[in-house]
Assembly symmetry: C2
Homo-oligomer: 262 residues x 2
């Protein structure tokens, strides 16, 4: 009969620290004791404590700056609500969902946009139905919460739609690019988002200031117009430990299926 084997020391120590942090024993923004101190307290080698803290870093619970101490996370977990309702509400107020979410938490939000014509990645070109060698419009956005970068997004649109319209400007006017696409008779009618968890690439890791153990949500949204043509591909990159994702939808279409049995 297998007895429950004890966990390794470094996992036990990680659990102790995790609970202490979640209990509030370490205030957000404060530092842990030095690894050597923790090692003496638990009667283990410094290396073992280092392994424990490595687990906490994976969850974004702490953050280390080389040379300085290990700091307890300050930023709360952010919520991204992709639901139509949310977006209607926000657009009615002429501000982005991102701004609104951070206001809710009382955090300062910044974001900056840059627009350029670039060769799109092959898979994006294929989705947009354009020649892979022809430039497309790339709208890149960096989003900061309280001076911490928390999201990157690149929105790709075909030049034959975007050229000469406000879509190719930094300021797209009221309602954003979706309203401008509607102006052109290509208002989005269906969205699909695909979520994967992956390693950040080296650039992303630098910009988002992430650890080796941490992962990002790679969310790809495609927007199709009423004819089913994909008019936008938006690739978003979010540090996974910093976000929770929400989707809401109505199922009126299903009423026929859910009808009572005779």
């Amino acid at each position: 009969m297998p007895i429950t084997e004890p966990q390794p020391r470094y996992q036990q120590i990680a659990d102790v620290l995790r609970e202490a942090i979640e209990r509030g024993d370490y205030a957000p923004g404060s530092t842990l004791e030095p690894e050597l101190t923790l090692a003496e307290r638990h009667n283990v080698n410094k290396r073992t404590v280092n392994m424990a803290i490595r687990l906490l870093r994976a969850d974004g619970l702490v953050h280390v700056e080389r040379g300085a101490r290990t700091v307890v996370r300050e930023l709360p977990v952010l919520r991204r609500d992709a639901s139509a309702r949310q977006r209607i509400r926000e657009q009615g107020q002429a501000r982005g969902a991102f701004q609104a979410e951070l206001e809710r938490l009382g955090i300062e939000a910044h974001s900056n946009v840059s627009v350029s014509e670039q060769i799109a990645p092959d898979d994006v070109a294929e989705l947009l139905g354009i020649d892979p060698a022809t430039p497309a419009l790339a709208r890149r956005r960096h989003m900061l919460a309280d001076h911490t970068p928390v999201q990157l997004a690149t929105s790709w649109l075909p030049m034959d739609l975007a050229a000469g319209t406000p879509i190719a400007e930094v300021d797209t006017g009221p309602g954003g690019i979706y309203s401008r696409l509607a102006d052109l008779g290509h208002g989005p009618a269906e969205f699909t988002e695909t979520i994967r968890l992956r390693l950040p690439d080296p650039d992303e890791r630098t910009v988002l200031r992430m650890d080796v153990e941490q992962r990002v949500y790679a969310i790809r949204r495609t927007a199709a117009d009423a004819d089913g043509r994909i008019v936008e591909v938006n690739d978003m990159v979010l540090p996974a430990h910093q976000w929770e994702l929400v989707y809401t939808w109505e199922e009126s279409q299903l009423c026929v299926l859910y009808k009572p049995r005779a």
Copy 2:
């Protein structure tokens, strides 16, 4: 001017192994060389190789069985499509979305359901609007792909709806619990899913056979009827490295907002 510093050895080795696996140099199901062999090849200590492989485990790229060798992942990444369209299609075929997805990949699917009356967690009781001390109906489901456990789900429903109906049986009849809720005049009209990434709890870690470094998607779905009453709370737990998540929705509601400017 900061020069790009070289990565640590264990990260370099992890990258080499990751690329080799993704290139197919190691077939799915085959084993890596022993750590000691890899250590000699790269002129590092065995410990350093162990650190590298630890990074691969986090992504589910390899799997170790103590005493045996390190095995390359066999199971492909599974797709979970929560969209209405997907579910309509599947329900028309009287089989679950999970079965359909695995059929698509040519993998054998199993799942088993157990039904019981239990005290629900406080947050679930609150969502369902029931007394926290009163038992609710819990429908627990384990899903296996090719004998590997890949998902756990617990569906909570209030007893005043479920008692004495097929909802409280293992076999809920055609269309599943949503059709039975419709029979009762409480067909679901709106769904919300919230996705978080977290540590598996000890039970989940055992059942899902997960490593310390690995994380699960915790997806909570709430289903509300036409009156806005939440009639089901479904807590799903999926090893994050094993799944990609898809959401699709239509934006007909937004036409008014996207209308062309005069």
